[in-house]
Amino acid sequence: MAALTPSYARALRLADYWATVYKRTWKGGVITSFVTPFFYVVAMGVLLGDYVTADPARLDGASSYLSFIAPGMVAAQAMTIAFSETTYPVMGMVKWQRIYHSMIASPLRVGEIVLAQIGFIVLRVAFSCAVFLAVLAPFGVFESVWGTLVALPVQMLLGLAFATPVFAFAAGLADESAFALVFRLGMIPLTLFSGTFFPIDNLGPVLEAVARVTPLWQGVHLTRMLVLGDVQWGWAAFHVAYLLALGAVGWFLTVRRLTRRLVT
């Protein structure tokens, strides 16, 4: 009978685990996933943005600085959650509490454990970004209703694209010391220089080319086109393909590295 159980069904058995964990942690998550970004929007978008006047043509078509950074902040938020869920929590499960070891002692397989955890992270991204989008809406920063609705699954895709490679990286680490660097030299520069706060052509041609290659810019640009209702379909298709590919490669590496770590 067990032979007939498909992988996704076994992964679903972990839903109660993640629901239990979420019940214990959601309160803290509200602060990081909602209150902090809200402060940023008020400080950078509303208060600082008041001093910023620019030609909408230079702001990717946004009518104000606030509506320029709002979609960028949402995308950066999706990325931040993916990072935070796949660094210390993964180290905890692989090393400190050895939760993964208890999971693979049951009929669950590594691929199913990864599927469930990524599923949880993507849902968490969806929930946080939905709240964030809803909070931003009254500021009048979204030009397109359908575009804003489509932006939500885009955040899930962006979350996936970041969660799987970082998960793969974390799964093979001996200890957590590398995470400080991941945040300081990875996540923060991405947040600052991937078109979230200013158009990347301000960077100059070389750095602009670098910024265009980053996954966050892909997500920021796609989100911005959607919520501003000005979608260039070629770019959109490219961004989706890029993020899907990154997510898939990361997924493959995660399963491989976690298997090597656990099944020895």
């Binding site: 032979a3 058995r13 239990t20 050895r98 208890s102 693979i104 002692a105 049951s106 009929p107 669950l108």
Partner: protein
């Protein structure tokens, strides 16, 4: 239930900059565990016990040889085998953020058991391991013995046919150990097949119907505790203890009085069928040990004989 032939496990160790070297933890063992028995793997640290356990638990691929659990191959039927075994690992792998009840609940769900069934079993198991009043306690706040009992309860949530226990009482105080032995004994009476590793000889004598002694990756002896004692030891042992540094030089003076003399850092063990008589002989030679003790031989004596060294805990 479990059948191994020529079972081997090797690991590739990569030095930071050098070439890879191979390390063989299990070097060709044959094992048969029958339904309903309690089977022990005994051996010093590094003997290959845990590597063998991990292969039986289907979380470590077999390097060579044959391994069958319930007649199934772990390489192709890992999930099916794991569904029918319970694992109590050496280190607790409990989720310390969750409470006792939640730990059992999520674990039961890993096996695909319906929620109502899991809830029913939790009641039963908490009662069995005497933790009913701790159901809502956080795991962090439990004592070592309670955590172990919780881990045992967790390993029983799928009503396993084989329960695998890796060092079940290591690090526990004597009272906690006796509680666990009592529970394991009850499980055995209920027909659960127990497979345990231990480096406590008293634990093996208490629990195991049959055992193998492993050393450096191979099996060096096999049988029931009584058979092993009969085969590898005398009936009794006279322990004599001289002052520091005097034990080893004294050994040659008593060598002919016993079947065999084992020199430990702090005492001499004289193996003989009549320990009192041997002790009298020692005293008759004018030797004056600081303390003496005559006792029946135990598995520990078998162990010393076979592995040629004292236990390293």
């Amino acid at each position: 239930m479990i059948m191994a032939r020529g079972l081997r496990k090797s690991f590739v160790r990569r030095a930071r900059r050098g070439e890879a070297s191979e390390f063989e933890a299990v070097r060709g063992i044959d094992v048969d565990v029958r339904r309903g028995e309690a089977f022990g793997f005994l051996g010093p640290n590094g003997a290959g016990k845990s590597s063998t356990m991990r292969m039986i638990c289907c979380v470590s691929p077999v390097s060579a040889g044959e391994l069958r659990i319930f007649g199934l191959d772990p390489a192709t039927h890992g999930p099916q085998i794991r569904a029918r075994i319970g694992v109590c690992p050496q280190e607790d792998t409990l989720d310390t953020e969750l409470n006792v009840w939640e730990n059992l609940f999520v674990y039961g769900r890993y096996f695909g058991l319906p929620r109502d069934v899991v809830k029913g079993r939790i009641e039963e198991l908490l009662d069995f391991v005497q933790l009913s009043d701790k159901a809502r306690a956080k795991v962090e706040d439990l004592s070592g013995g309670m955590k172990r009992r919780l881990t045992i309860a967790r390993s029983l949530i799928n009503r396993p046919e084989i329960l695998i226990l890796d060092e079940p009482t290591t690090g526990l105080d004597p009272q906690a150990r006796h509680v666990i032995w009592d529970r394991l004994f009850r499980l055995k009476q209920q027909g659960v097949t127990l497979v345990l590793t231990t480096h406590y000889m008293d634990e093996a004598e208490q629990l195991a119907d049959r055992l193998v002694v492993m050393d450096k990756g191979v099996i060096v002896a096999e049988g029931s505790p009584r058979e092993l004692i009969e085969q590898y030891s005398t009936r009794e042992v006279a322990e004599i203890r001289f002052g520091p540094g005097e034990n080893e030089p004294t050994a040659p003076k008593v060598e002919d009085l016993a079947d065999r003399v084992e020199v430990l850092p702090d005492r001499l063990l004289l193996y003989a069928d009549d320990g009192e008589r041997t002790l009298q002989d020692v005293l008759a030679r004018g030797l004056r040990p600081e303390t003496t003790l005559v006792r029946r031989a135990t598995l520990e004596d078998v162990f010393l004989r076979l592995t040629g060294r004292t236990l390293v805990d």
